[in-house]
C-alpha cells in the first residue's frame, strides 16, 4: 500500500519533470519538486535521463520553410486584402444569387414577368391587328405605346433571347473596331454601387497582339468616355487597365501590401513580370490579365452582383453572375491555348492547373524556360497533386 502511494506520488511529481528540466517550472512547484527529488532515487535517475534526452534534442530545431514562403504569404495576403469588400466576397455574392433563384419570391417575380410579356405580345399580335384601320387619336397612341412596351419588356428580360447586335461580333472575325466605334460602344457607368466605374471586361477574348497597343493607349486615358448603360463592359479594357504599369490606386491596399511590406517578393506586377519575360513580352499585359486581373474582375462582378441583390435588382445580379462565370471559362480557355502553343499538348496538361486559379497565376509569373520545364515535368509525372507541388516549388 505504501509502495503504491509512493509510486502515485512519484507520478504526480514526474509530470513536473519536463518543466523542471526546461526551467519553465514555477517557483512553488520547483521547491516542491526539489524536496521530492531529495528523497526519491527513482526520480533522480529519471531526471538524469531526461536531461540527457534534452541535450540530444538540443542539437536540433524545427524544420524551416523554403525560401519562397515569404513571397507566397505576401502575395496571398495581398490578393485576399485586395479582393475583400466588407462582408461580401464574389463567392458569397454568387451564393446569394443562387439562393435567391431558389426562393418562392423569384418564382413569383418570374411568373409575373412572364404574364406581363405574354399579355403584351398578345395585345400587340392579336388585339391590335383587329383594330379598324385609320383609327386615330387615342387608339393610335395605344399602338405606339404597345410597341414601346414590347421593346422595353424585351430589354428587361434577364434570360430571354436577344437580337444579336452587330457590334457584338468578335473582333477576330470582323477586325478590330476603331477606337471611336469602341468608345461609342462602351457602356454607361451604373451610378449605383460604382460597378462600371471599375475596369470591366468586353464580350470578346483578346487574341491579337496588335490589339494591345490600342488597349494600352485606351487604358492610359482614364478620362476616356464612360461606358454605355446596359451593355456588358469591355474585357479588353480591363486587361489593358490591369496591364498599364501605373501605381495601384490607394484603395488597392492588398497589392500595396504585397509590394511594400516585403522587399523583392518576386514577380507580382507587370513591370516586374516584364523583367522576367513570361511567355512573350508583347503578350505580357494579356498574361497578367489572365492571371490576376481576370480573377480580380470576377471578384468585382461578384460583389457588384451582391450589391444588386441587396438593392433588389435581381436581373442585373444574375447577368453579372453569368459574366463572372464567363470570365472564368475564358481564363481556362486562354490558359489552354497558351499551354498548347508552348507544348503542342495543351489539353492533356491544363486539367492539372486550371482547377486552381492561384496555380494558374503562379504559372504566369514564371519565365518561359521555367514554364517549359514545368510542363515537361508535369507530363512526366502526370499527377494533379504533384503538379500543384511542382508549380509552387518554383
Amino acid at each position: 500500500m505504501e509502495n503504491k502511494l509512493k509510486i502515485r506520488s512519484c507520478r504526480k511529481r514526474q509530470i513536473l519533470l519536463g518543466e523542471y528540466v526546461l526551467g519553465t517550472i514555477g517557483e512553488r512547484d520547483r521547491a516542491r519538486f526539489e524536496r521530492h527529488l531529495a528523497r526519491c532515487a527513482r526520480c533522480r535517475r529519471d531526471l538524469v535521463e531526461t536531461e540527457k534526452t534534452y541535450r540530444l534534442l538540443g542539437n536540433f530545431e524545427l524544420a524551416k520553410p523554403g525560401p519562397f514562403l515569404a513571397a507566397k504569404v505576401a502575395r496571398a495576403v495581398g490578393r485576399e486584402a485586395q479582393a475583400a469588400v466588407p462582408g461580401i466576397t464574389g463567392e458569397r455574392a454568387r451564393a446569394d444569387v443562387r439562393r435567391w433563384l431558389r426562393t418562392p419570391a423569384f418564382a413569383t417575380v418570374l411568373a409575373a414577368a412572364s404574364v406581363a410579356v405574354v399579355a403584351t405580345v398578345l395585345y400587340i399580335k392579336v388585339w391590335l391587328p383587329r383594330a379598324p384601320e385609320g383609327v386615330e387619336g387615342p387608339a393610335a397612341g395605344k399602338v405606339a405605346s404597345a410597341a414601346k412596351a414590347e421593346k422595353a419588356a424585351e430589354e428587361r428580360l434577364p434570360f430571354g433571347p436577344r437580337t444579336p447586335r452587330p457590334e457584338a461580333v468578335p473582333p477576330s472575325e470582323t477586325g478590330r473596331p476603331s477606337r471611336e466605334t469602341a468608345a461609342a460602344e462602351e457602356p454607361v457607368a451604373e451610378e449605383e454601387g460604382g460597378f462600371a466605374a471599375e475596369a470591366p471586361y468586353a464580350a470578346t477574348v483578346p487574341a491579337e497582339a496588335d490589339k494591345l497597343a490600342t488597349l494600352e493607349a485606351r487604358a492610359a486615358r482614364p478620362e476616356a468616355a464612360p461606358p454605355a448603360k446596359g451593355r456588358r463592359p469591355s474585357r479588353e479594357i480591363a486587361a489593358a487597365g490591369k496591364a498599364a504599369a501605373t501605381p495601384p490606386p490607394a484603395k488597392e491596399k492588398g497589392r500595396a501590401f504585397a509590394e511594400g511590406a516585403y522587399p523583392a517578393t518576386g514577380a507580382g506586377e507587370p513591370d516586374k513580370l516584364a523583367a522576367r519575360a513570361p511567355f512573350m513580352a508583347a503578350a505580357l499585359p494579356r498574361d497578367y490579365a489572365v492571371s490576376r486581373g481576370a480573377r480580380d474582375e470576377m471578384g468585382r462582378y461578384g460583389r457588384a452582383a451582391a450589391n444588386d441583390v441587396e438593392r433588389g435588382e435581381f436581373a442585373k445580379a444574375e447577368e453579372k453572375t453569368l459574366v463572372a462565370a464567363e470570365v472564368e471559362g475564358w481564363m481556362d480557355a486562354r490558359f489552354e491555348a497558351d499551354v498548347e502553343r508552348l507544348t503542342g499538348d495543351g489539353a492533356a496538361l491544363v486539367d492539372y492547373v486550371t482547377p486552381n486559379g492561384s496555380l494558374m497565376a503562379y504559372f504566369y509569373e514564371l519565365s518561359v524556360d521555367e514554364q517549359k520545364t514545368l510542363l515537361s515535368r508535369l507530363r512526366r509525372e502526370a499527377e494533379a497533386e504533384s503538379a500543384a507541388d511542382l508549380l509552387l516549388s518554383y
Partner: protein
C-alpha cells in the same frame, strides 16, 4: 538547478503592442513585420502537425490571411503570438479534416519535423543519423502529444499558453507533455549514454 536545455531559446514576444496596434490600424508594413517574425515558427509547428511541407506552407499562408482579415477583432487580451499560433493550429486541424473528408492529400509523404541546428555542415552531417532517430521518435508521438511537445520544448510556450492555443486544460497539457517525454526517452534510449 539544471541549466535550460531546449531546442531554441526563442523570444516569443518580440512584437510590441504598438506594432500590433499599427497593424490593426491598417499599416501593412507593421503586419509584414509580424509575418516575418512568426512565419518560420508557424511553419515549424504546421510541419509538426501535418508532417507535410506543402500542406504546412498552405496552412501558414491561410493562417496569415485569416489573421490579416481578423486583425481588427484581435482585442489584445491574449498575446499576438498566442493568437497566431491558435489560428495556425486550428487551420492545420481543419486542413487535416478536409483532407480526410476529400481523401485527397497524401499524408504518407512524411516530411522531417526537425533539422540539425547550427551553421556547420560537417556537424550537421555528423548528426544526420541521430536526427533521423529523433525525428522518427517525435513523428511517432500521438498528434496531441506531438503538438504539446513542439509548443513546449521548441517554442518555449508555457503550459497555460499551450492550453489556450489548443483549447484544453493546463492539466491535459502537463499530462500530454509528460507522456511525450517518457516516450521520447524510451525511443532514444540507445543514444542516451
Amino acid at each position: 538547478m539544471p541549466s535550460n536545455i531546449s531546442g531554441g531559446k526563442k523570444n516569443k514576444n518580440v512584437v510590441s503592442g504598438d506594432l500590433v496596434q499599427r497593424a490593426r490600424d491598417g499599416d501593412d508594413e507593421a503586419f509584414g513585420f509580424i509575418v516575418e517574425t512568426y512565419r518560420d515558427r508557424l511553419f515549424g509547428l504546421a510541419v509538426g502537425i501535418l508532417r507535410n511541407r506543402t500542406a504546412a506552407e498552405d496552412v501558414v499562408q491561410e493562417a496569415f490571411i485569416k489573421a490579416h482579415k481578423n486583425l481588427k477583432s484581435f482585442r489584445g487580451d491574449a498575446s499576438i503570438y498566442t493568437w497566431l499560433y491558435r489560428i495556425a493550429v486550428n487551420t492545420a486541424h481543419n486542413h487535416i479534416r478536409r483532407a480526410r473528408r476529400a481523401e485527397e492529400v497524401d499524408f504518407e509523404e512524411v516530411a522531417p519535423i526537425i533539422e540539425a541546428a547550427g551553421p556547420n555542415p560537417a556537424e550537421k552531417a555528423a548528426n544526420a543519423e541521430l536526427g533521423e532517430a529523433i525525428d522518427g521518435a517525435i513523428q511517432g508521438l500521438p498528434p496531441r502529444q506531438r503538438e504539446v511537445f513542439i509548443l513546449h520544448y521548441f517554442e518555449q510556450m508555457t503550459h497555460r499558453e499551450i492550453a489556450e492555443i489548443l483549447g484544453v486544460t493546463e492539466g491535459a497539457v502537463k499530462a500530454n507533455f509528460f507522456h511525450a517525454v517518457q516516450k521520447l526517452k524510451g525511443a532514444l534510449k540507445t543514444y542516451v549514454t
